[in-house]
Each structure stands twice: as C-alpha cells, then as structure tokens.
C-alpha cells in the first residue's frame, strides 16, 4: 500500500494535493466537493484588504449620493439594518467549514498595511482556521524605495502577525527577489512555518481597439511549473520552512516533480477551474499508480530526492543560461531562416 500522506505547516495531510486560493472555495458547497474529491486541505479564497475598503467606500458613496440636497427626497436608497462589508462573510465561511468539513482549512489574507493585516489575522485565527497563508502582493514602482526597505516592510508585517496568532503561518511569495534564499532565511527568523512558490500576478494587457488596459486571468499551464520547481530544488534542505509549489500543477506528473524537488504539498487551481474538482480524484489515482509501478513506498521517501542536494549535476539548477540548451535549439523549418 503506497503511503501518500505528507505534512505541511505542522498539519498531517492524507496526500500532497491542496487546492490553492481561488473562487472555488467561496462557498461551503464547493468546499465539500473539494473534500469529497480527495483534497488533503484547502486554501480559502483570499480576503483582500483593498476589496473590503473598496466595498465599504462604495457603499458609503452610493448611500450618500444626492442625499440632503433636495427637500422632497432627502435620500434615494433605503438604509439596511446591516451590511456585510467587513471580513464577516469570510469569517463565517471559516466557521462553517470547520463545522461541516474535516480537512484542514488554510485561510488566505492579502493586504498591504500593517494595522489591518494584524487585525484580520487575529479574527481569522479566532474563527478557527488551521493555518494562515499571507499573500504578499506588491509591485514596487517607487524609485525611492530600495529593495532592502521593501523587504523590511514585508518582514515587519509578518513579524507583527506572528506575534499575534498561534496558528501556523505560510507566506506566498513573488519570484522577483534579488536574493530569494536570503529573504527566506529572514522569514525563518520570524518563525514563519512555510512558503508558497509562487504568486501568479495578474498582468496588465492592452486592448488595442479601445486603447485601454485590461486585466485578464490567464490560467497556468504545466510550463509554469518549471520556475517554482527550480526554486524548490534550490531551497529544499536549506531552510526549515515547509514548501508548497503553487504554479503550473496540472497532472500527477507535476505533483511528482514537485515532491521530488522537495515540496511538502502541490497546490492547484487552474486545472480545477478548467476541468473540474474531480480532477483531484483522477490525479491521486494516477499518482498512486505511478508510485506503485516505480516502487515508491511513500511520499516522504521521494521528497527532495531530486533537490540540489541529491542530484548528481546540481549546477543544472543554478545556471540561468545554459549554453548547451541554447546550442541544442533547432528551429522549425522555415525558408526564411538560414539554419
């Protein structure tokens, strides 16, 4: 019998597949479907500080618009008893999920200011979340902010959160650090429990007809897996933090590769959004089959077996431009290309 169990952020998990933050986890019905399909834990959709502020501001604006300006109509919309504008809806979902499903619930918090991160993380912990994933989502466009200062701001926020809550904390990272290993080392000094590689940023695109910026959600493909694979391979064994790989996991092969480079869990969203949550069941079956065929007994046995510490040619992980790869490129035939 193959042992698929793993551990992540101190949580014992039945297998390494964890759905990452996505609209799939917005309600209890879908959370149950994820559990039934075999997900070992689930990261809830992200609670965005900006969204909470925006909802609140917009509500205030529309309720106030035009009021007290015309004697016949002092307001234009009825004021309700209460509004669900704060994090309450999110906290209720955690509360409900903890009662109705049995896999660990990892909450996800996306914010930018010290005060609110701390406030919300306390409420999330109190609502019963098993762990918290902090999502650092920031494009530093200010030329006066050095990379050191920007990193310090992250660390200050993380330290403040860690001081306030006792549940395990992971940090979802951007791949764009000049020295990622050093930043990970700094995270470990703040007692962070795990890292998620990586955040996928929504990129601004341009609509040529309208000459406008558009934001689109691009689903990942297995090709996106290569970036986190490399970094997990480099970081495994160098840090006490658990590793989750979270870009480009679509198949059982992707899960296997993630484990081989040292990940504790493989997170997926695009595959489930496009092909349905039942893909988890299929991938788990294929994973187990592959492991049996290749005589692996357990996930823990294979974890990290292809990280930088365990492969015979570790320099392959470290070279950014590898001459032999470039040399070996053969373009497809084209009359205009003198190959």
């Amino acid at each position: 019998m193959t042992d698929l169990s793993t551990s992540y952020l101190g949580l014992k998990l039945a297998n390494p597949i964890v759905p990452s933050a996505s609209p799939l986890s917005r309600n209890i019905v879908n959370l149950k479907r994820l559990e039934d399909s075999g997900a070992a834990a689930v990261v809830l959709y992200s609670l965005f500080e900006e969204q909470i502020n925006y909802d609140s501001q917009l509500l205030g604006e529309i309720l106030d618009q035009g009021t007290q300006t015309f004697a016949e109509s002092l307001s234009y919309l009825p004021d309700m008893q209460d509004y669900n504008v704060g994090p309450n809806q999110y906290l209720e979902l955690i509360h409900k999920a903890k009662k109705e499903i049995h896999i660990p619930i990892i909450a996800s918090l996306n914010g930018s200011t010290l005060g609110n991160w701390v406030d919300y993380s306390e409420k999330i912990a109190a609502a019963g979340a098993d762990a918290l994933e902090l999502n650092i989502y920031r494009i530093v466009a200010n030329p006066n902010l050095s990379s050191l200062e920007a990193e310090k701001q992250y660390l200050d926020i993380i330290a403040a959160v860690k001081n306030k809550i006792r549940i395990p904390v992971s940090v979802k990272l951007s791949p764009f650090f000049t020295s990622l290993p050093q930043f990970i080392r700094d995270l470990s000094t703040r007692d962070v429990d795990g890292m998620v590689l990586f955040n996928r940023f929504y990129q601004a695109d341009i609509n040529l007809e309208e000459m406008e910026i558009v934001h689109r959600v691009n689903y990942s493909t297995s090709a996106d897996l290569l970036l986190p694979l490399r970094w997990a391979a480099l970081l495994h064994g160098q840090t006490p933090l658990d590793i989750a790989i979270s870009s480009g996991v679509h198949t059982h092969e992707d899960v296997l590769k993630s484990i081989l480079v040292g990940a504790n869990v493989a997170m997926m969203a695009s595959e489930l959004l496009v092909n349905g949550v039942s893909r988890i069941t299929t991938i788990l079956r294929d994973l187990e089959k592959w492991m049996t065929e290749h005589e692996f007994e357990s996930i823990s046995q294979m974890r990290g077996s292809m990280s930088i510490r365990s492969v015979k040619d570790p320099e392959k992980y470290e070279r950014a431009q590898y001459l032999r790869v470039l040399d070996s490129y053969k373009p497809p035939y084209s009359p205009s290309f003198a190959g």
Binding site: I52, N53, D55, S56, Q57, L58, L59, G60, E61, I62, L63, D64, Q65, G66, Q68, E72, S73, L74, S75, Y76, L77, P78, M80, Q81, D82, Y83, N84, V85, G86, Q89, M211, E212
Partner: protein, 687 residues
C-alpha cells in the same frame, strides 16, 4: 446673505483661497458689510478637505465640524467628540473605511479652518450682476428677486395673472456650479456629436458655421474644418457654457476619440473652470449669435452628428448632474422643439422642466419654442390627449373657415395650405411661410370670421404632441389614463423616462422596478418582475412601441424618436434613464445603460405597425443576444449590491430568478422578431 447678520456675528466661508488671500477676492459689498457689522470671518477649503480625505463632493461633515468649532454653541471639544461618536454610530455598519474617512475629514477640517485677520482696506470688485442687463424685463425684476431668495417680498401683482410664465429664462440664471468643465480639443475630435447628445443640461453644443462668420470671433475661439462632404467649406465648433455646466463629465465618458499620444486625454477633457470662466462666457455668447448654415444646406436629421448641430430648446434645467432623463427630453426639443406641444406628468421632469424661478424650455432664433404644461400625476396622458383633440378641432375649424373664405384670401394660397406636404422640415417651413401670408391677409379683414381664423391659423403648421413623464406616472399612478389614451388611436407620442423607481420623491419602488432591486417600499429587494408596459402596448397591434437606451445605442434612440413621430397613431417610447436612485456613480451612467442592454436586462426593440402594411414583421429586436450575465450588470449597481451586502441569501435567490425570467423574456422577443405574427406571439401567456 449677510443681511440678517447681527453685529459681531461669525461668518464661515468655504473657499479655495487661503486666509491671507481670501479678503482680496471678496466682493466690495461683502467687505463693507464685514467692516460695518464688525463680523468675524473664518475660512475653510472644504473642497480640498473632501478631496484629500476621500469624501468626494460631500461637505456636510466638514462644514458641520467647522460650525461647531467656531460657533461655541457647545464647548468645541465636546462638540467634536460628539460628532465623531455620531459618525461611528451612523456609518459603523457601512464599514471601518467609511468611519475612518469621516473621522479624517473632521480632523482635516479643524486643521484647515482659519480665522481671517480682517484688513482695513476695502478693495473688492463689485459683485457680478445676478442677472445680465441683457435679460428681458420680467427676468430682471420678478425672477431676479426670486433667484436672490427674496421671493417672499414680491407683490402678487408681479406674477403673471394667468400663471403663464415666459419660457427660455434658465439662460439668465448663471449658477457657476462646476469646479471643472469640459474643454474641447479640435485636433482629436471626430465630430460624432455624442458629447452633445448625452449632455443633460445642454451646456456642450456643436454648430456648423459658414467660414466667413468667424472673422470677428473672440481670440482663441476654436473651430476646425467640418467633416461633412455636403458642406466642404464650413467650420465645426464645440463650445461649452462654462457657467451653466454642472461638471457631470458624461461628455468625457462618452467621447470615443482618444488622443493618440496620450490615451488618458480625449477630444473632451475636464479643466479647472475659474481660470476660463471669463473667456468661456465670451466664446459662448459668440457661439449663440453665430449664424447656422442657410436652410438650403440643412443636414438630414437621420444621424446623431447632424441632429446634434441643432439648437436644443431645453437647456440649463435644475436636473441632477449627470441626469439620465434630460438627454431624451432635449432630443425631443432638438427634433420637434419649435412645434412641440408637451404635456408633462408630475415628477422629476415637471420639477426640472418648469420649476420656478426659471424655465429651461427655450426658444429658437425666430422666437419660437415648445408649448409646455404640467398636469397631475394621475391624468397627464389625458391632459396631452386633450391637447391633441383641441389641435384636431382647431384644424377642422380652420379648414372649414379657409374654404369659406378662399375667394377673399386667394384660392392658390388656400389650396397650398390645405394640400401641404408636412412630412419633412422643408415642407413644414413652406407651410409656415404660407401661414404668415395668410395671417397678413387676415389682419386686413375686419370680420369675426377673419379674427376667428387668425387666432387658430398657427395650428395649420404641423404640431407634434408629446406626453411625457416618469415610470411612476406611466406604470403606476397614471397608467389607467395612459392605457386609455393609447387605445384611442390618435396621433400622440408618449415618452416614458424610465428610471425604474420614483426618483423625485426619493426612490420608492414602482411597477417598473426590476426584480431584486432595493428601493423604498422594497427594502428587502423587489420580489416581482418589472411590468412590461411595452409588451402590453404591443398587444393592441396599432401602437408604435420602442424600448431605447441612449447610452447603449444613440442611433437607435434617434431612429425610434423619428419613427414614433412619423407614425400616424399613438406611439410609446420607453427610455432607460440611469438615475441617482440606482446607487451608481453618475459619471458612469452611460456605462450602466450599456450593461443593462448587454446583459439583456433592457433589450432594445421597435414595434412599428406601419411595417405590417408592407407585409413585414412589425417587431424588430435591435440588441444582440446578451454578452454578459445579468448578475454582472446587477453587481455594478448599488440598488442590487446593497441587497447582496445586507441579505446575501435573498440576493442570491432573487438574482437567480431574475436571470431565469430575463432569459424567458428574451426568448419571447426573439420569437416575436422571427415571427410574422408578432401581435399574436406577444399575446401568448408565456411569461
């Protein structure tokens, strides 16, 4: 303003000028009273406070704070603490961000509130005249006093004995409301006319001017070559009445032309108003006086850009900034204005259409304009119907008199009048000329018959009867009469300015309110769907019916208005009008109209019974199949959003029902459009 101030009173001024600068900006009269009554003067830039604390245009928290800080009706600290407590209580349920914003506004108000050290000098300029000397006497006297808020001092004898107020008076009330106004960039402009079409207050206008007419234009008056093949040597201009503009920005929103080097700029851009006020006034006066193209070069009225070069006869009303109704009203005035008879139901349109002191219904260069009157909520359709019957009776009577007097008046002239083709502008202009000749002749004949005919002769020029009002009138309170008038088969045009809610009285639910929308009397979300007044009218088979949304398709709107008027029978136009009561940011009103159509919430269609005579299907579905889910449109509007925030379960249930019912309705319309027997299709109880 300062008349009631006692000696030593405290005056709080909201001004963009600093305490050091403000004195020199005050009018002389104001300075003199401050000196004489030894007033204390405080100044705060509430606009700046509102901007920096995210309060938008909302001043009440700011000015209230300043009032308590300086009035000493309570110890200032106690008062400020009480204000902050009230903010938490009032806004707490709207979220922490709203509370913090208001508290920040209180603190920023106190920081910016400064006492002005009153100088000894009195160097102010005379205050600008409230009313221009060029205004008619009635405006300079009676209306001026009302505008100065001294109406109570008017003797009864100053008011018109029969209650008929002169029209075209809103042009004299220069409110100077907007801090920013649109400025035209001719280099970028594609001359589409959309900005002019959507302007709720007729403050941005276009004109085609003969080339030689700009020789004496004030310096800086912008024109560019008119992009019309028919008139190769003319100039095109867009001008803004900077003192009448409300700064709503709809014109900028709708402008499709982007600056190729800087995409955040368009052919219309908002700029600070005070620095361009004086020159803007000169440009506007020149623009109004500049000649139109000669009649021989008049452009056909089938295109938005053409019709929008026509002078609107509905201008500078008191409607909300960004109003979704008034562009439709203005369009009627542009197409039929000088021969329109308008019966206006009570509601927003009667308030902005005919409220004292001034009247937005205006006159053209010949001194002609629409005749307008307001009746009650419950009888407006009948009121307009009465106008039609009266008109018909006058025509019958005048025709009889013409025939009796034809030897005296000239057989050819009378034959011309009776056989006139008035189906287009040229025909109507020719008839007007004949009526002028007729009246000249009649004045020379001193008989009771001649006097009788003289008094009704103008009715022989084709009139256009418009019965208009909101959905509260058309769907609810005036519906019985509206239905009855539709059923009579006479030639009237009914325009429903459909905001889907009683707007003027503050957002009460009407039978036009859609399923799931929150309104007063439907605070838990409306549980029944919108009454389909269009389908009900279609079921008669002989009524022209169109459902339009200018923000989604302005050409469709124009076409529907023209077809409705051309149809020799009753017509009903249901016009989607975005509204402050929808809980939307008004500058995006046109986007909301577009989304209503894109989601299928508001399909565009025309039912033209005249097509049946040509063997065609009278029903045309003019909007495409939905391209966005209904939910997406609903999420964008506060009236649906607050239900999702206040009662998510109810919101989910009602949204699902709304989507299902919407799809059913769309299927019906699609079947009707595909069917040759549309009337029967509409009559089927499929909904």
């Amino acid at each position: 303003m300062l008349a009631s101030a006692t000696e030593g009173a405290i005056v709080l001024l909201n001004s963009p000028y600093s305490p050091e600068e403000v004195w020199d900006q005050l009018p002389l009269h104001f300075q003199q009273i401050v000196h004489k009554k030894k007033l204390k003067l405080f100044v705060v830039d509430a606009y700046a406070v509102a901007k920096e604390t995210g309060m938008g245009g909302r001043m009440n928290t700011i000015l209230q704070t300043c009032f308590f800080a300086i009035s000493k009706v309570l110890p200032a600290d106690t008062a400020i603490a009480a204000i902050k407590k009230a903010i938490k209580k009032t806004y707490g349920k709207r979220g922490e961000a709203v509370v913090q914003k208001n508290i920040a506004a209180v603190d920023a108000s106190l920081a910016r509130l400064k006492e002005v050290q009153i100088p000894d000098r009195t160097n102010g300029k005379p205050a600008p005249a409230l009313i221009s000397d060029a205004a008619p006497e009635f405006v300079r006297t009676t209306l001026r006093q009302i505008i100065a808020e001294e109406g109570d001092l008017l003797p009864v004898s100053a008011l018109p004995a029969d209650g008929t107020f002169p029209s075209a008076t809103s042009q004299w009330e220069k409110r100077g409301l907007a801090l920013q106004v649109p400025v035209w960039d001719p280099e970028v402009c594609i001359q589409c006319g959309k900005c002019v079409m959507v302007c709720p207050h007729a403050t941005i206008r276009s004109k085609i001017i003969p080339k030689d007419a700009v020789a004496n234009a004030p310096e800086g008056f912008l024109t560019t070559k008119a992009k019309w093949k028919e008139i190769p040597d003319s100039l095109f201009t867009i001008q803004v009445a900077v003192e009448d503009c409300t700064g709503c920005t709809l014109c900028v929103e709708v402008c499709p032309a982007k600056n190729r080097s800087q995409t955040n700029r368009k052919a219309i851009n908002m700029e600070e108003m005070p620095p361009i006020r004086e020159q803007g006034r000169k440009y506007w006066d020149f623009f109004l006086d500049a000649p139109d193209l000669p009649e021989s070069q008049h452009l056909p009225l089938n295109l938005v850009r053409n019709i929008q070069t026509r002078r609107p006869l509905f201008e500078f009303s008191g409607a909300c900034a960004g109003c979704g109704e008034t562009p439709y009203v203005k369009l009627v005035s542009q197409i039929y204005g000088d021969r329109a008879l308008i019966a206006n139901a009570t509601g927003c349109s009667s308030i902005y259409g005919g409220n004292l002191p001034t009247t937005p219904w205006a006159k053209n260069a010949d001194g002609r304009g629409p005749a307008w009157s307001n009746s009650l909520f419950e009888d407006n359709a009948e009121f307009g119907f009465g106008m039609r019957i009266t008109l018909n009776q006058h025509i019958v009577h005048a025709t009889r008199l013409l025939k009796v007097m034809q030897e005296q008046l000239g057989v050819d002239l009378i034959a011309g009048i009776l056989a006139a083709d008035q189906s287009n502008d040229h025909g109507i202009a020719a008839q007007r000329t004949r009526i002028v000749q007729l009246k000249e002749k009649l004045q020379k004949i001193n008989t009771p018959q001649a006097k009788d005919l003289f008094s009704i002769a103008d009715n022989l020029v084709k009139k256009s009867v418009w019965i208009m009002g909101g959905d509260g009138w058309a769907y609810d309170i005036g519906y019985g009469g509206l239905d009855h008038v539709l059923a009579q088969g006479l030639n009237v045009n009914i325009l429903v300015l459909d905001t889907q809610v009683y707007s003027n009285t503050g957002g009460q639910s009407s039978k036009a309110t859609p399923l799931g929308a929150v309104a007063k009397f439907a605070a838990s979300g409306k549980r029944t769907g919108r009454k389909d007044i269009g389908l009900m009218a279609i079921s008669y088979g002989n009524i022209y019916v169109a459902q339009v949304a200018m923000g989604a398709d302005d050409a469709h709107t124009l076409r529907a208005f023209q077809e409705a008027e051309a149809y020799e029978g009753p017509s009903l136009i249901i016009a989607y009008s975005h509204c402050i009561a929808h809980g939307i940011i008004m500058e995006h009103g046109l986007k909301h109209q577009k989304m209503a159509v894109q989601s299928g919430a508001w399909p565009l269609y025309r039912y033209n019974p005249a097509l049946k005579d040509q063997g065609k299907n009278p029903f045309t579905l003019d909007s495409k199949a939905p391209t966005i889910p209904l939910k997406e449109y609903m999420q964008e509007e506060g009236r649906f959003r607050i239900l999702a925030q206040g009662n998510p379960e109810a919101s989910r249930m009602l949204t699902e029902r709304a989507q299902a019912e919407n799809e059913q309705k769309l299927h019906l319309f699609q079947r009707m459009a595909a069917s040759a027997t549309a009337v029967e299709a509409a009559a089927q109880p499929t909904i």
